[in-house]
Symmetry: C2
Amino acid sequence: MPDTADRFLDAWHEAVAARDTASLEPLLAEAVSIGAPPYWQKLEGRPLVHFLLGLILETIENFTYHREWVDGRELALEFTGSVDGLDLQGIDLITLGADGRIANLDVLIRPANAVSALIARVAPRMQKHLAGER
Amino acid sequence: MPDTADRFLDAWHEAVAARDTASLEPLLAEAVSIGAPPYWQKLEGRPLVHFLLGLILETIENFTYHREWVDGRELALEFTGSVDGLDLQGIDLITLGADGRIANLDVLIRPANAVSALIARVAPRMQKHLAGER
């Protein structure tokens, strides 16, 4: 029987490979938090984190996973891709809850120019989304 | 008997905890490469990588390791610290060679403002070092 991390990873990779952001939502805990590249402060809550994840996935071209580390419910998933023709390497540091959903996700990306390009594309849409929610 | 990764990690953590950058040098392969936060291109060679690692360790205050993932000779080490009062979270993605030394090290850090502060402090000293080598 696959364990919690295996089940999560199967569903996660299937959704990401298909760029099926709707299928990511049930993989997030209701109180999920995300440590994103632009801010130290975490963003919280399933709707906001789901929206931001969708934006990031939509914006990074050729998004591909590579090395993967699993230690119980703590995961590290390496990816590469590009934004505006700038190559990038990133990692998702994921903590799963006992229910197998993401409790926290930190996204770290290098190099700095690709991070700037990503933020420049994502931030305006994020601000628009936040403004619309108020 | 501890395996390659265990032996490496013992030596690495001892050197980093003591801020003993000289002891980091023998842990690097001669042809070691580093994927640093500012550039997509790798920097190569033990003297250059050793110098840059020393600068980074010297510049990040309260440098502390946290989660650690090991898969054979592929390692992921999470750290936190601060630069100019800006909190940061980073990860070292390390590939060890068969000899137990670092063959490649990628350093990913968030958030963007802390990366900018780190680059602003490290880049001038790196450029001076490179100019002196020519």
